[in-house]
């Protein structure tokens, strides 16, 4: 009697299991996430001094500019991630056509900046019209969002300069690798 009951229960359970049969299908699409390098720079608050004492030619004309930058350097990036400056002209342009302008190399620059992986060129370097000078270097893996660096400029005043206003265009470049 009990054996029969167990058998019937077995059949009922088996039947219920069959009714719960499930069909399954799966798909595994790939997700790709690209995180780009970032390199952006803009300049603000560019001021250059005015020779207020023309008789004292040993005085230097100094000025500063603020570099606003963001950068994301790959962890396996090359050590060329940096901000550079270069004169965009071979000479300064005088306001008066016959004025003698200071040479590009008479302009000097240095930089101040801070942050992990951020190294400014703090010593004075001569500007070049043919070679980009390094202002700030970034280590591999450096990630900086909306930070600032300060560029300092100076020109050694000289008795050879004519009294005039001189313009020298500069090009700032940032590279993330």
């Amino acid at each position: 009697m009990n054996k029969n009951l167990i058998f019937i229960l077995f059949v009922l359970i088996f039947g219920c299991a069959a009714l719960q049969a499930q069909s399954t299908a799966a798909a595994t699409p790939t997700m790709t996430l690209t995180i780009p390098q970032v390199a952006s720079v803009s300049i603000s608050n560019f001021t250059m001094g005015t020779s207020t004492n023309p008789g004292n030619f040993s005085a230097s004309l100094q000025g500063t500019a603020t570099l606003n930058y963001s950068v994301r350097v790959p962890k396996n990036g090359s050590p060329n991630a940096k901000i550079t400056v270069q004169a965009a002209s071979t000479s300064a342009t005088p306001g008066g056509s016959s004025s003698t302008a200071p040479a590009v190399s008479a302009f000097e620059y240095s930089a101040t900046a801070s942050g992990s992986g951020v190294t400014p060129s703090s010593s004075w370097q001569s500007l070049s019209g043919s070679t980009a000078g390094t202002l700030v270097t970034f280590a591999s893996g450096t990630k900086v969002d909306a930070s600032t660096a300060t560029v300092n400029f100076r020109v050694a005043d000289s008795p050879t300069f004519d009294a005039d206003t001189f313009t020298l265009p500069l090009t700032f470049t940032i590279s993330s690798q």
Binding site: Q22, A27, P29, L33, T34
Partner: protein, 165 residues
């Protein structure tokens, strides 16, 4: 009791195969992969996927009283790249919409949420009494962008599982 045992045996032999025959079969296809092209996080804090992912579920042998479902999870807990630190898959958010393409079944879509490695039901419903029953689920994905991410290309797999009961 012998008669009872005989009837039960008959149910086992005849009934069980009938139950298996009645079970629906489900197939699942997807439109391709999901691509996120992140930008500058300061300008784009949330990055949408460049395309939607379309999952098509087809059920043959649909029955009006039977149910179907589609689940989603991440295969791993992180996106992995070649040099960058892993990025948590939970930064991905999905949402879905669905429509019945063929058949007389129903579909209900769950609210979107962040991706996890646990199966989450995206859509479900009744199969209906017409075969095939085909339903299309369209996923929209976004990922939270961050300056903490390293520049790199990262991969991860989704796991979509469709079931028909």
């Amino acid at each position: 009791m012998k008669l009872c045992r005989l009837i039960a045996t008959a149910i086992l032999i005849v009934g069980a195969p009938l139950a298996v025959k009645a079970a629906a079969t489900v197939s699942l296809s997807t439109s391709g992969g999901v691509t996120f092209s992140a930008g500058n996080p300061s300008l784009q804090p949330v990055t949408p996927a460049s395309t939607s992912l379309v999952a098509t579920i087809t059920i043959n042998g649909a029955k009006s009283t039977d149910t179907w479902g589609l689940k989603i999870r991440g295969l791993n807990s992180n996106f992995t790249g070649s040099s960058g630190l892993p990025i948590p898959s939970s930064n991905v958010h999905w949402s879905a919409s669905a429509s019945v393409i063929d058949g007389k079944g129903t579909v209900t879509v769950a609210s979107g949420q962040n991706l996890s490695t646990t199966d989450i039901t995206v859509a479900s419903g009744l199969e209906g009494n017409k075969s095939p029953f085909t339903v299309q689920v369209i996923f929209t994905f976004t990922i939270t962008n961050s300056w903490t991410y390293d520049a790199d290309t990262y991969l991860q797999n989704l796991v979509l599982t469709a079931t028909a009961n």
